[in-house]
Symmetry: C2
């Protein structure tokens, strides 16, 4: 599974010594291995409110999400979440815990979501956001959230209020993120 469109010189075949079909270049023999990708992000709170970003990019342009994005090589999951908060919300965040590990098998995505707080009381829209705001629970734009896992993470964050420690959540029962 890949969102990348391959040139015509790739063919689908099982390489020697492999057990799975892969995309292989019939010119040079390059094998295009595809593995699940990791998204890292955080539910960021400040004075009882939650930081959300309105997306300025596809997919789901104009819809709301927490800061999150693809993890890069060479960083930890927490470092990736901190980087994404800076890129998308110009926010300097402090990670406190792992909130959840969600899997979206349809798009082969693992999402490592954290609980974090603003290290400084400042935020602004980065280039990938139309706007960024702090929301009370009742103000959250529930009908305009970008992805099912945004709702999961917010709901799970709500559940752990008042708890010193909590187990990491996974997908809610029966939820696989197949719908938007």
């Amino acid at each position: 599974m890949s969102s990348q469109i391959l040139p015509d010189n790739f063919v689908r075949t099982v390489p020697d010594g492999d057990t799975h079909e892969r995309d292989v270049c019939h010119d040079c023999g390059f094998i295009h291995y595809v593995n699940p990708k990791v998204v890292v992000g955080a539910v960021v709170h400040h004075e009882g409110k939650i930081l959300l970003c309105r997306r300025a990019i596809i997919p789901r342009l104009g819809f709301w999400t927490m800061p999150a994005g693809y993890m890069e090589c060479g960083e930890t999951a927490a470092e990736g979440a901190i980087r994404e908060a800076m890129e998308e919300a110009c926010a300097d965040i402090v990670i406190d815990a792992v909130l959840a590990v969600y899997t979206i098998p349809r798009i082969a995505q693992v999402q490592v979501m954290h609980v974090a707080r603003l290290g400084k009381p400042h935020f602004a829209a980065g280039p990938e956001s139309q706007e960024v705001g702090l929301f009370d629970w009742d103000e959250i734009p529930w009908d305009d959230l970008a992805f099912p896992s945004v709702r999961w993470a917010l709901t799970h964050f709500r559940e752990i209020q008042g708890q010193d420690t909590f187990p990491a959540f996974t997908n809610p029962p029966g939820e696989f993120g197949n719908m938007r």
Copy 2:
């Protein structure tokens, strides 16, 4: 970062519209994106003992590990851990919780480790294992563990004994998995 050796027709360059250097085929323009890979596994317990596998494959052939391996597309992290336990230890396991999310930046790996138990009192060496056994804490071959994160996971599993719920662990302080 990639363990895959690329053909000579790949060159290192920043594609149009990108911000990072990538490996690009100068014949067909194919871009070889590399992201962190996900390893899924489980500390499996049965009657107070822990299931360990002696590796029959490189790297670290002959050293001990818990069942774990690369997550495949189309499965959840928990499903991947269950598959790996069956492949490496012929063990039918039941996942109870997320134990830890470790990151090894040097090799761009995220490890999602679970707590699990044997669903049936049976195990055996799969094709990737020389032998599989159940170990009391004092019997664990500490000097012959395959990877630092095996020690982390066993130690973290030990810490949560007697606790109904516990937060997901991350890398121990100062530990980045750079040494074997």
